[in-house]
């Protein structure tokens, strides 16, 4: 059987479930269909060791009886499966209390129907074969072999059709593709290096370049020595800056976090230096574009931070109704107690070259990426985590030695306030849930609070 790739079939399925829901007594209903083919080729010890593919469709039904809401999901789309889906959602809606401030599902005039952002889908990813991914893995491995290091990583390709249809006229349909290649190189002399690329079109990713970057870095971190924890100025590569975006998106830039009083956000509050501008922009072709959110509402670019000052936060339909504004198109699939999320954060580039960023460190650290970060103090955005896969001591603007990995305990807000320079080159990388476009940055001070043995 070939997968039913035709988005029109998916929309017809959504319409069919909507009709069943209305017949079952729904005063409003929303159906989300996600259907996709995804595959991932994973390599370790310079050989492919895991290689997987998945074909699946999932249906999510939000069923309202007045202000009472039930949600059910299912992977089944036979007649019996659809009937059970509707019955389950209806039974839940019949058992719960009213949501006092339920404002209804988003309407078509506020939303988006039939959208397909041309840049959201690339045939190069949709048609990717196991042989194509294996070739990419072999190219990374060849670069590792050439440097005498060992390659670990993965090459993933996904094509997904998203349909959101609701009883208030929303008919949003989009086919999206994405691809990610990442690798960690490990050297026999202790060094490790990381590189990653994310793109809508897998054929635009250069596996050899990614392999080379990681292998060179692994060699550059051979025989790292210990450094005392303390406060140091840092240059963070894009792989590390991603984490700052993700964490601030998580603890602060959501309307729900503000409504619940747990966000640092206040309109106009200065949280970054003049050099910091961050927009959530799903229309930016540099990221992974998408036309609408998981409520089918068109995505609007939202300026989160402008020249260091807080501007807006992102909304879904429920948080928007509470504040008397329109959804910005940042809803996640129902039921969603976590609130809206900025999936497409883009940080504005600066003017500095990599040499200028590093050159501005009298004595500091160059950090490739962070590992296993977690929130310690949400309102101050104090985060702890480790450095990983390429940490270097810089003196008088020159990289002088690799250092062993350090633990930090650092407010990401203080970090943004300390941004002294922003790189002009940016990378597209995987974030918590979406894709993030970020440059390197130089930060005046970063607090390292511990060390490890490698």
């Amino acid at each position: 059987m070939v997968t039913e790739r035709d988005p029109a079939d998916r929309l017809a399925l959504a319409d069919q479930v909507l009709r069943l829901a209305e017949r079952a007594g729904a005063t409003e209903a929303e159906v989300m269909v996600t259907a996709g083919d995804s595959a991932l080729t994973r390599f370790a010890n310079s050989e492919i060791h895991q290689n997987v593919a998945e074909t699946g469709t999932s249906l999510n039904l939000r069923f309202a009886i007045g202000k009472r809401i039930g949600v059910a999901s299912s992977g089944r789309r036979d007649a019996d499966g659809l009937r059970r889906l509707v019955e389950t959602a209806a039974a839940i809606a019949g058992s719960v209390e009213e949501l006092g401030d339920w404002s209804g599902l988003p309407t078509a005039d506020a939303g988006h129907s039939g959208g397909q952002r041309a840049e959201a889908r690339a045939a190069g990813t949709a048609d990717a074969t196991p042989e194509f991914r294996a070739e990419g893995a072999r190219a990374v491995i060849a670069e590792a072999d050439a440097k005498g290091v060992v390659a670990y990583g993965s090459f993933a390709t996904t094509e997904e059709t998203i349909v959101v249809a609701n009883s208030r006229g929303i008919r949003s349909v989009e086919v999206r593709t994405n691809s990610q290649l990442l690798t960690v190189s490990m050297s026999p002399d202790g060094g490790t290096g990381y590189a990653e690329a994310v793109a809508t079109d897998a054929t635009t990713i250069d596996p050899a370049a990614i392999g080379r970057e990681a292998a060179d870095k692994a060699r550059a971190t051979d025989r790292a020595t210990g450094l005392d924890p303390g406060d140091y100025p840092v240059v963070l590569e894009p792989y590390a800056v991603v984490d700052i975006m993700d964490m601030l998106g998580y603890v602060g830039f959501s309307a729900l976090a503000v409504q619940e009083g747990r966000s640092f956000y206040e309109r106009g509050k200065r949280i970054g230096s003049d050099l910091v501008t961050v927009v959530d922009d799903a229309t930016d072709p540099a990221g992974l574009p998408m036309a609408f959110d998981y409520e089918g509402v068109a995505k609007r670019p939202i300026t989160l931070v402008d020249a260091g000052a807080c501007v807006d936060v992102v909304y879904d339909s429920q948080t928007a109704a509470r504040d008397g504004v329109r959804s910005t198109g940042h809803g996640l699939p129902a039921p969603n107690p976590y609130g809206p999320f900025p999936l497409n954060m883009v940080m504005a580039p600066g003017s500095a070259s990599r040499e200028e960023l590093i050159g501005g460190l009298a004595r500091g650290l160059l950090v490739t990426r962070f590992h296993y970060t977690n929130v310690i103090h949400p309102k101050l955005a104090i985060i702890t985590g480790m450095t990983r896969d390429g940490t270097f001591l810089v003196e008088d603007g020159q990289i002088v030695a690799p250092v062993r990995n350090l633990r930090f305990t650092q407010s990401y807000l203080d970090a943004l306030a300390g941004v002294e320079a922003v790189g002009r080159e940016r990378r597209t990388l995987r974030g918590f849930l979406g894709a993030v476009v970020v440059p390197s940055v130089r930060i005046a001070s970063w607090t390292f609070t511990g060390a490890t043995e490698h």
Binding site: V52, E54, S73, P130, G261, R262, P337, Y372
Partner: protein
């Protein structure tokens, strides 16, 4: 089911697979989310599909689909073989599995009250009552209460003739109270951060007595707002089971996964400091009191099953014995590389994922002698830390830092005032070597997490940890500048 599994296995064999296994998994889930007294989300989900894993020319391939038809079983088996042939183009060592007799049988989680048969209204009512008890405490900013249940029907068959059917049921629930003032955001969770979870039925949820406990925990959340900051220093700490289980999870569970040791998770979660030379040399992981076992047979644990997802029977594997590192979590592919047989730790997150080495129930065995209360009474000057709030550990599982929701000062053997924002940090083996007391059976309790992440594409695992609480000396407490 037999028709489908036979079909997939036959097709794989006819296309050249030297080994194949097929799993058909149906999963039913239900969740209830309550926030500040309102039911924010009630959801029910069902998925069903099959996954075929094959070895061709010594290389792995896997494909999966949500269509349970013989035609699709053929297509998926064929796709898995094609993927395996692509894997073989970048292969240096052919995969060898351990020798094992075919497994046959059936296992079911013992359940007294079927969580999926209890009326939804009652489950919502129980959770709302608990949430309201927490929310009615003066000074509370918001409350979040949750309930979840999951049941899986799993059929496993392999080309050696194994055929296994299992029904696994997990339930969990909890109440979280948040208090906010200025920049201070404090939280207390009952019974644990993320809820209490078991392999059990609704009887476990009733036994938690959520509404009876939620109020006192909420009062503590509010009290923390005006509590002094936990001061930094080298301290004696006593870890409550609600924190100790995660310490075991991060600093013993993950580094003893043999696939991590061999580098197959290096590109994502990392590797392990517990390299195989440390097994040979008898590395001192902890003090003599530290006995840690991976036990897939412990009643009630979310790592309990009849067979793992490679058809290996549930068993208890010692990881640390009298403080010495003695074993790994392993699989049919990895165990022979250290001259052993699989310990039965391969677990997959549903039909569309391959099994990976996962924790089962990683238990710190209780020590006869002192109860947890007696350990506190035996402590002159220290801190009692409860309920995890934040966790982080390096990619070889050495340098960790945890935050807990609360610290209680211990002075002269008595638990005293509350201290806010406690954190502690250390190096795994230094920390476990500093363990000088482990609680006895009286506080031994099965906890666990339904949120253990691993692998690419990502998989979420349900794992168990039975713990009684323990004391550690000379631990670095506090690092922050706030």
């Amino acid at each position: 089911m037999r028709e489908l599994t036979d079909r997939a296995l036959d097709t794989a064999a006819s296309l050249g697979a030297t080994y194949a296994d097929v799993r058909i998994v149906r999963r039913l889930e239900e969740s209830i989310a309550v926030k500040s007294g309102r039911v924010e989300g009630v959801a029910s989900g069902e998925t069903e599909g099959l996954g075929v894993r094959v070895l061709v020319d010594g290389a792995w391939g896997f494909a999966s689909s949500d269509q349970l038809t013989t035609a699709e079983a053929d297509r998926i088996a064929g796709q898995a073989v094609r993927i395996a042939r692509a894997s073989a183009t970048a292969l240096r060592n052919r995969v060898q599995l351990d020798d094992r007799a075919p497994a046959l049988g059936r296992y079911e989680t013992p359940v007294l009250e079927d969580p999926f048969s209890i009326p939804l209204e009652r489950k919502i009512g129980d959770l709302l009552a608990a949430d309201t008890a927490a929310g009615s405490v003066k000074g509370v900013a918001f409350t979040e209460s949750s309930y979840g249940a999951q049941r899986e029907w799993k059929t496993f068959a392999d080309s050696a003739g194994s055929f296994i059917e299992q029904v696994i049921t997990h339930v969990g629930a909890g109440v979280e109270t948040n208090a906010i003032e200025g920049n201070e955001h404090q939280r207390r969770s009952y019974p644990d951060a993320g809820g209490g979870w078991r392999a059990a039925g609704y009887e476990f949820i009733r036994g938690l007595e959520l509404s009876g406990h939620a109020g006192p925990y909420a009062e503590e959340a509010v009290a923390l707002l005006s509590a002094p900051q936990c001061p930094p220093g080298r301290r004696t700490i006593v870890l409550d089971p609600s924190q100790l289980y995660l310490q075991i999870h991060e600093s013993c569970g993950h580094p003893t996964e043999l696939d991590r040791v061999f580098g197959t998770e290096a590109s994502y979660a990392g590797t392990s400091f517990l390299t195989t030379d440390k097994l040979e040399e008898g590395f001192r992981y902890g003090s003599d009191l530290v006995d840690i076992v991976a036990d897939a047979t412990t009643p009630g644990g979310m790592g309990t099953f009849g067979w793992d997802d490679e058809g290996v029977a549930a068993q208890a594997v010692p990881l640390v014995k009298n403080g010495i590192f003695v074993g790994y979590l392993s699989s049919r592919e990895t165990a022979p590389r250290i001259g052993r047989l699989s310990g039965g730790a391969m677990r997959a997150d549903g039909w569309n994922r391959i099994p990976l080495i996962r924790m089962t129930n990683i238990n710190l065995l209780p020590k006869p002698g002192m109860s947890l209360d007696e350990i506190v009474a035996d402590t002159d000057d220290g801190l009692y830390l409860s309920s995890n709030r934040s966790w982080s550990i390096d990619d070889r599982r050495l340098n960790f830092q945890f935050a807990t929701e609360v610290a209680y000062e211990i002075k002269g053997g008595k638990k005293g005032r509350l201290l806010k924002n406690p954190t502690y940090t250390g190096i795994t083996y230094d920390f476990w070597r500093s363990c000088d007391a482990v609680g006895d059976e009286r506080s031994y309790v099965m906890l666990g997490t339904p949120n253990c992440g691993k692998g690419e594409p990502g998989q979420t695992g349900h794992v168990g940890h039975a713990v009684s609480g323990a004391r550690f000396r000379d631990v670095q407490v506090g690092v922050g500048k706030w």
